[in-house]
Symmetry: C2
Subunit: 254 residues, 2 copies
């Protein structure tokens, strides 16, 4: 049995303001919830409709939920439909505590970092997270004009990567630059024109800045070393998440 207040809270988490107020977000769908649990996410509760998981069968996801002592409950389809985005939820949602990940303390960043400057497409942002987690990046910095990484679409395309990181930090351009310079980071901006990434020998600690596909970088970042993925053809564009993967593979396999 789910309370009316809980339903109201979960519904409100579709909106950024309430995610920030409550420091909670919603996960939808089996794969996202399972991958998030694998990354030891702080899940407050899981709700599903009866068709989704047969409580009597030996279900992988349910076993993980039990093992992690996560509270779970079966709810009616009607209640479920009021909370969820029915298309992608597959009859199961979770409430996740995001306090640990939402920080603005640049001093907490660990090792080489990805800096995302006004990325506005949630699918791209989530895919960048997923790619960065694959390569073991521990900290992500977002400039304050980027979208909220805890929106539903971004969480979905991140497939649990959000919860792999030590921190996801939102900060102003100037603060970010000041910190990276003070800490002797080598700063690279991925751009269409710059030094070929295959010719770069990265220092131990670097920051890779990725801008928006549509709008590029903010002025403050244009002073830094530009690096580029040399193209073989006349086509003009590469998806920003694909570019992120190619550059990470280069910087980390030298």
């Amino acid at each position: 049995m789910i309370s009316k207040n809980k339903i109201k809270l979960l519904r409100s988490l579709k909106i950024k303001k309430y995610r920030s107020n409550h420091m909670r977000a919603i996960l939808e769908g089996k794969r996202l919830i399972e991958e998030s649990i694998n990354n030891k996410t702080n899940i407050e509760g899981v709700w599903f409709i009866e068709d989704t998981i047969n409580l009597k069968s030996n279900n992988n996801l349910l076993n993980k939920i039990k093992k992690m002592n996560i509270p779970y409950d079966i709810i009616t389809k009607d209640d479920f439909l009021t909370i969820s985005d029915t298309k992608n939820s597959q009859g199961i949602i979770a409430e996740v505590n995001i306090e640990k990940y939402k920080s603005n303390a640049l001093k907490d960043i660990d090792g080489s970092v990805i800096v995302l400057n006004k990325i506005s497409d949630p699918g791209n942002l989530g895919t960048i997270f997923r790619t960065s987690a694959w390569y073991g990046i521990q900290s992500i910095i977002l400039t304050s004009n980027s979208i909220d990484p805890f929106n539903l679409k971004c969480l979905r395309s991140g497939v649990g990567a959000h919860f792999y990181f030590k921190n996801i930090i939102v900060a102003d351009n100037k603060e970010i630059i000041k910190h990276l310079e003070n800490e002797n980071y080598e700063i690279y901006c991925a751009d269409l024109q710059g030094k070929d990434i295959t010719k770069i020998s990265a220092k131990e600690k670097w920051a890779l800045i990725l801008g928006s596909e549509a709008h590029g970088f903010d002025e403050e970042f244009k002073q830094f070393n530009k690096i580029t993925i040399t193209k073989a053809s006349g086509t003009e564009s590469l998806n920003v998440a694909v570019a992120c993967g190619i550059i990470l593979n280069q910087l980390l396999n030298k």
Copy 2:
């Protein structure tokens, strides 16, 4: 002035069957149309509403349309709305002839190729096309159980890459394998377990097979060399289009 029959035809192109019957597809939005023209796409006509392009101003896109002698016309907002997906069309659509790209003649493939096995996400498929075009790949092969690459979402995420290729071929698994073997292609399957891509010295002519994120490869492809992008972390997954970019960068920069 647009005829009722033309409106009916354009509307029908949202459906795969009619795209195949008429060998036409719809392009929506300024950037997609402009990038497609840059790739010398065979565009039959362009329609836009008056707010979209001011005919009297010096407009880049309009200049390109005129230079390529593409027929264009202003239509009413009401007519426009019956044809287009209003969210992404930005008040402009084009009809494109896809005859040249839809083929099943494997003998026409040129150089190293990407083989896509039952990819079902149109956004991923379009991004793979965009990435392959960046790296100068000339031919794409899709197994017959893949989605139609000329659907709206796939065209949108391809950002004109579709029209860069010499050919996009749809064929059955067995025919594909027979052809690649006869032509002495080195065949690689991207998988979670396999030889590290940084350790591979690719032959001159290779085929890279990418499977669906959710369902992997069809049985017929499992006999081939598996290659993998070595991960640095405990996370389990990489987006298939990102994987495509990383592998292409490795195979082509040796």
